[in-house]
Symmetry: D2
């Protein structure tokens, strides 16, 4: 005797590989299925629809298949309400809590589908009951006693974004593996177009930057992009800000003059002197106001009111007074920026890019640039439908991008 | 009219390249010199001595040459006392403060040389006056108003360690560049000997570990090394502990069974469930005591009283209750471990290795193992005389090391 | 008015992604389709079948769609004979010649399907007419005037191998991206099992080896594998043989003693002396017979009659008399080995692995081992259904593999 | 009882590290020494001189020390003539033949020092006697029976080039390790200056190019540099030429349109069709003349009479009729170009760069550009005093270099 449940697939279910995953899951988990309706979109802009009956040996197996299926966007045709269990204590989730993906997600509550707000992965979903009930994500350490947490697999609908082969949009390129053997200038032109398009639609661009950007001489061009409004927000670490300011005060980055390539004597002390100067002033904004800092990325952020988050790390010197040293507090600041961003440029930093990426829904446009292919691969490997990776030198990427955006208008 | 000052070089001044640097510095900075005494050690265990007169055009130039020289271990033959200036405010150093190297350093005070304690680089030196005056390093954010801080270049003696070509010790090998094309098993044997030697001398071994160690299947062998006392302390991040415990509770690491290489369904949620379980218990020690955690690296640390530091980072999930989320607090915990360690194994983590390396004097033995040559190069590039790098797979390195240490005794 | 053609798909058409590719091709090329029969294998060991009508605006477009489809294994249900055109001159193919994939391929000739022999990619297909007609691949430079060469797209059937998710066999693991963060020892155990299985089935194992294998100290263990019959054939370059023999005669590899890690003085000349010695003897076999070479990989090849190919390259010193200096001649020797091999181990050489890989059909088992992830990615990126990549240190990989195969039987 | 010999050091013996090496060698090999004269150049443009007595326990040890010393440029103050032994057979050198470094070398013959011509490393030195005797290098396979070959260590003087810290010339920058975290645009500006300087002095620039240059979209800018005379000679492989021509005929490189980033259907066959077209024409020059090839790097080489060498390799498809398939013949062609070059640009190819580098004396200017730091390190690791490495993206490097050279004059 078997048990069964009817499920539905909708959208570009063949192109996106959804149907392939779906059949695979059922067979892997020992179930079987019969396709009851199958309406294939014959043109690339037509959506498809499939309805099928999933069969399993017992209820447990069926549950497990159905759970796995909706992680991939396959939903029961006859849904039930989500199960809500109050959190037993602060920071403690109920057993069997539902851990989120980064895809758009809906919760069935009182027979209605509610979209979960602030989607990001590895969170719990908390439902706030009332006249107009709301559902949103909470990271584990933000759970409070009594929060109504969604548990087990029922009443949840996930919509993994489809990656259409030919979207026509700025991001309809560069799918496939990561390699340095790709046309560099043409790719940068496409990225510039995507930034322009994002700005035109009123969107916000967040740049996530590592100190290599400064060392490799790209500071002045990034500063121009901030000034001219192509970068609306900045996410970086203490080291990025220190070397940016070091270049302003001492003309060096990590002790090397990025113009002449000289290593002035004492240069290896410039970064610690820089920190000391900014501490003396009380912070970056104060140092800009007093005229101690007169140029650079941080200067343009302050001067043009572009909000920045400097997240601390255990390898920091100093740190600067602006650096948020508590990781949880810093994550919250990053989270806020990430949720506001419509496009994210991840520029030669693995640590900060992962931190920002953790807070992004899969629908946000992401560009990852690094000279190490392993870094780009790791950053792209998160199921974003809109991510583009490029293996190149940040010290040539930013100048060419700036030229494309600023000089070729 | 010129000014001049007499300086001295002692030790393996030719082998170690000290004399070459010294002549170079003087000529680069526009000075000249005459060698007044030159006694070369003709055999490899003999030390050399040189005394010379440095000449410059004016006092400023001379100061600058002499300052640069003693950064490289060349000291005036007629030293003066160090200059002490009180810190004007908390976290604020006096202008022109002396920023440390990681080499053994002495401060001249009341005509006596005092060794600076807790040497690490990029710190200020604070002198505590009194009957038996003391000098020690302080990071910038630990400076308190009124601290007597060493400024400018006088009265300071630095001793960069020499890297003898043929030390006879366990670390007299593998000098030169970093490459994966080195004999792997022979190198691991040398490292095993160095660990044995360190333990025999009563020294302490600190392992700095990244999560790749767990993913690559080396967890069980590292756990044995902790249990058998070849690793005395552990420095890691939240992710390392989470995946180590995930493997215990769910049999996976990052969702993959490290034995069978299967990816069990739900595997991608195991790490977040693991965090949730440990939070529920209140911490790792509590989870070991309650029997929730029954094996692995963290288990052996708790079971055998090996102290561990888990430093937080902005990419952490959770984090575990044991993770120190504040970067400054975490650095202090790391600093304490680093100062106690006689040998440090840096195992496939750049972030934590840099953090620990920042706190180490140049005299501590360091082994860096990573599959990315750029990581090994960056870690070795800190002037440690006792650092050995190896480009290899951590998943084969740890098992072979454990075999060498445990099975071939 | 549209034109149409009926095509068929058979096998694991969903699992293998074939159906997804097929629909994508039709839509990309501006055609449309209707599914006329669709029989899905509901269990993982059941095959599926689909028949559909492809429609296009004109015959050209239809041709182009149908051509592209059968590159992906979709074949017209109503096939015609292949078009044969005689080659106009030596080394000159007819216009529009069919350039092969590396998948099993059939040519329709006189109404019968003939399997193309010696499948490898980027070749022409030549048909030898007669009572029992034959079809085989020819590289461009082997074409002779008058050869009957298959042109355009009709009458050709390609069968891309399916990569079943759960084959049960030794290679049913490690699908997905390339990363160093995989369980190393468990993966090596799987590879050892695959070698054992291949030998048990009477298959032949070809090892493709770079000089890094010798430098990293894996020589002795590879020599054991040759001696014990786990490696049947060897494909390498001049440098591999030189350093293998250098280690025998002088105890070094690239001048370094791979046991003691010493660099004996004169060591940098050992490789050129080695070449000189072998030239003096007349070749490797002669040098083994005369007792000049007494151990190592080349020694075991000679001693145990394992055929080897040493292919020359422009960076060779010497070269040894055994090295085939002409690239085309060397390719032919490699091709012969490749066609005989049932399993290929590609060990830390990009150049030789690509050369061998070029000659392999997609059905041969391939294992690629390199410490550089980009190398492994590039080697796997050839559509082989049976390829497994591992990012690890060859100097630890070979010893652990040898231990698995030889000591744990 | 000891034996002794007097040796001399001249030049920037401290700056260049020569003295340090010298003392090290003597001590390593168990000898001792006394410095008899020591005259240090006190300014950076003054040379130094040292004379010392080397002592050893017996004649063998002394020989071995003295041999090693002159490899590092330390020569006996009382030299003897070089020992000449006739080669016993074709390709067979006498026992104990002298194997060259890549540094300028002199042979003492009949009491006179003769400079060895065509210096390159790992060669034998052959002396042609007569009225005006000559000495030149020969690779092992070019040795003919009866050639007078220099053996053992006497009568040879080597002059390793000094790398002055502040040469003022275009190459007085970027010493030190290899890293991607260097100022990219400033470095390219320095390289452009060095090219300009080389051309101004009437020198020749050889570009060594890999196919990644074409794939990454840098083809048009390299073609401009060839046309405008900044590149005088080209050294590449079959693949480089094929993809350059593929881009001309089909608009793609490896099947991808380098402008639009599209993958036209059939694109994966373009390279083999390209080869077929050029074979049909009889070669590249013929295809340029017939109008089949109308643009690109190879086109500009033909059109502007810039000689090119296409060296074959075992991974080649085709190959093109212009490709030299025999490795020894190709090496000879490369050698001729290398000896003519005053500056060599090694652009994203390890194989061809090593082949060219093998034939260069240590006095030729070399620039190595690759995105893989390990490649750059390996290429720089050859004792050239004039080598500069840069870790960057060839697809952005060439356009910026061309802009610097062509647009900013």
């Amino acid at each position: 005797m078997t048990v069964s449940r009817e499920v539905e697939l909708e959208g570009h279910i063949i192109d996106s590989g959804m149907m392939q995953s779906c059949f695979g899951i059922i067979m892997d988990l020992g179930g079987s299925f019969s396709v009851q309706e199958f309406d294939i979109g014959r043109h690339k802009d037509e959506e498809s629809y499939a309805r099928m009956l999933v069969e399993a040996d017992d209820e447990d197996q069926l549950q497990s298949i159905v759970h796995e299926l909706h992680q991939h966007g396959v939903n029961p045709s006859d849904p039930k309400d989500a199960t809500l269990v109050p959190a037993p204590d602060d920071q403690v989730v109920p057993h069997g809590f539902y851990s989120t993906t980064n895809h758009p997600t809906y919760i069935r509550h009182d027979g209605e589908w509610i979209e979960v707000e602030d989607m990001e992965m590895d969170c719990a979903v908390v439902v706030e009951d009332g006249d107009s009930p709301q559902a949103y994500t909470k990271v584990l350490n933000a759970i409070e006693e009594g929060d109504l947490v969604v548990t087990d697999e029922t009443g949840i609908k996930v919509q993994p974004p489809e990656r259409p082969r030919d979207s026509g949009g700025a991001f309809g390129f560069m799918q496939g593996g990561v390699s340095s053997e790709r046309p560099s200038e043409s790719t940068i032109r496409k990225i510039a177009n995507a930034i322009r398009e994002t700005k035109k639609e009123g969107g916000k661009v967040l740049a996530v930057c590592g100190p290599a950007l400064i060392h490799s001489g790209a500071r002045e061009d990034l500063a121009r992009l901030v000034r001219e409004g192509y970068v609306d927000m900045l996410s970086a670490g203490n080291g990025f800000a220190v070397h940016d300011i070091e270049r302003d005060i001492y003309g060096t980055s990590l002790g090397m003059d990025t113009e002449s390539l000289d290593h002035p004597r004492h240069g290896h002390k410039h970064h610690i002197y820089t920190i000391s100067e900014v501490i003396r002033e009380g912070g970056i904004e104060e140092a800009v106001e007093s005229g101690t800092i007169e140029s650079g990325v941080m200067y343009e952020c302050v001067d043009n009111d572009r909000p920045f988050v400097l997240a601390g790390s255990i390898r920091d010197d100093g740190p600067l007074p602006d650096t948020i040293t508590d990781a949880v507090e810093a994550q919250n600041a990053i989270r806020e920026q990430a949720h506001e961003a419509d496009m994210v440029l991840m520029l030669s930093t693995l640590l900060h890019s992962v931190a920002v990426g953790n807070c992004l829904p899969s629908t946000t446009r992401v560009v990852c640039v690094d000279i190490n292919p392993a870094t780009v691969t790791q950053l792209l490997d998160r199921g974003s439908a809109q991510a583009v990776g490029m293996v190149t030198d940040i010290g040539t990427f930013v100048p060419i991008l700036a030229e494309q955006l600023l000089d070729e208008e």
